[in-house]
Symmetry: C2
Amino acid sequence: MNTQTRRQREYEQREKLFLDAARNIIRIDGISALTMDKIAEHTEYAKGTVYKHFTCKEDILCGLCLDSLGLMYEMFSHALTWQGNSREKIICIGVGYQLYTQRFPEEFDLLIAARTNNIRQKASPERLERMDQVDTLVLNAIRAVIQLAIQSGDLTLPEHTQVDDLCLGLWAMSFGLLVLEGARDLISGLELSATNTLLLNQMSCLLDGYHWHPLSTEHDYLLTYQNTFRHLEALIPKD
Amino acid sequence: MNTQTRRQREYEQREKLFLDAARNIIRIDGISALTMDKIAEHTEYAKGTVYKHFTCKEDILCGLCLDSLGLMYEMFSHALTWQGNSREKIICIGVGYQLYTQRFPEEFDLLIAARTNNIRQKASPERLERMDQVDTLVLNAIRAVIQLAIQSGDLTLPEHTQVDDLCLGLWAMSFGLLVLEGARDLISGLELSATNTLLLNQMSCLLDGYHWHPLSTEHDYLLTYQNTFRHLEALIPKD
DNA sequence: TGAAAATGTGACGAATCGTCACTCTATGAC
DNA sequence: GTCATAGAGTGACGATTCGTCACATTTTCA
């Protein structure tokens, strides 16, 4: 009987509807303006129906996060296809991350919150499980580039260093920079270079430290940065 | 008239009392368990009195953050006195950061939250201003080490790179690693080296990339790490 | 067609926020 | 010592929001 599959499809569509409504509210008025009643009102369903889909408000936040992670994964996958050496591919991923957070700062706040015990303690285990899965996908994208670099001889990891160590290092550096960057005007008194080259420069030094070839002295990564920027910019939804 | 100064002193003591109560609640039951009524009850004051000190709940969170930043500044200052080369001093600071977040994970969640627009929009301007000031102090501690390295010839910054760029890079790397580290068990499937060497290794690579001498090939920073760890551990309040 | 299953509802209780009109208390002028 | 006054302290209150659940409505299919 395909009544079941139709039901399933309708259910998923409605879930998407609720998440879209929530995302809109957040983009316009910020996270603290998000209420279950507003989501119900905007979608013309009753609150009870929203709770058929999400166990609590935090579960919705994680649902949104899941979508964001998905988009990020898409962008990262796209970055992998960038024609260039292994370091250029990594830069392309970093640029993707940067573009995303700059385009949707409110949702980046969400990504930050979702790394916090406070939120994760309340969200449903099922959704956390799914977040883990997408996390893994994203990580695999970065891992793939590192593996590629090792195989092609561009990179030799120091002793006692795992692939995942570098993976986390790159992630942490980008994450940290973008979080602090989001609060840039709040951290007064910092005399910084232009936003766009900041991430590039720090990543360059880190990768130079790993002796990931070609080194920044051997290749013009600023050009790569600019090209990948234009390349990925087109992928970002305008809405 | 010193009635005024006494009043002032009492006011500050009570503020400290409220913050201590809030911190206790958070340490025991997490951020979401913090309510204004509980703070009032635990301190045996009425809620209205709490609101004489803090404009809203977020203002309290920022107040706690301010204390944490203060402690961190103290620790960083102490790190500056570490006898060793400039890179060792930076490591000492990193170790201090790590020790703090591991000792008080709940409060680290707070530090993260306080970098988020959501919270900052609600806190009182006065407190945000004070946070900025302490931020600056902390940054100055890092700046000082970088300046020292430059003056002593250990470090020459690349062209188009500011002192503050490196400052932010170091901060971002540590911040990012510690946030992700806090969610370590949540990011399943990551095969990482031991926690303690992770931060050290990533920082080492970054600083090697900057050609900050002595390079990690020329000096045993693992030893530095272990020594500074023991050195600073004693500073952390046991309570 | 109609009984059973699935879906949808919104009034409700509970928790919490932040306010404000008030009571109480310490101060210092006389 | 008395007393008017500033300001410190209160907690009942309205408002908001969460999450629930007993009931209403719709859909399914025998």
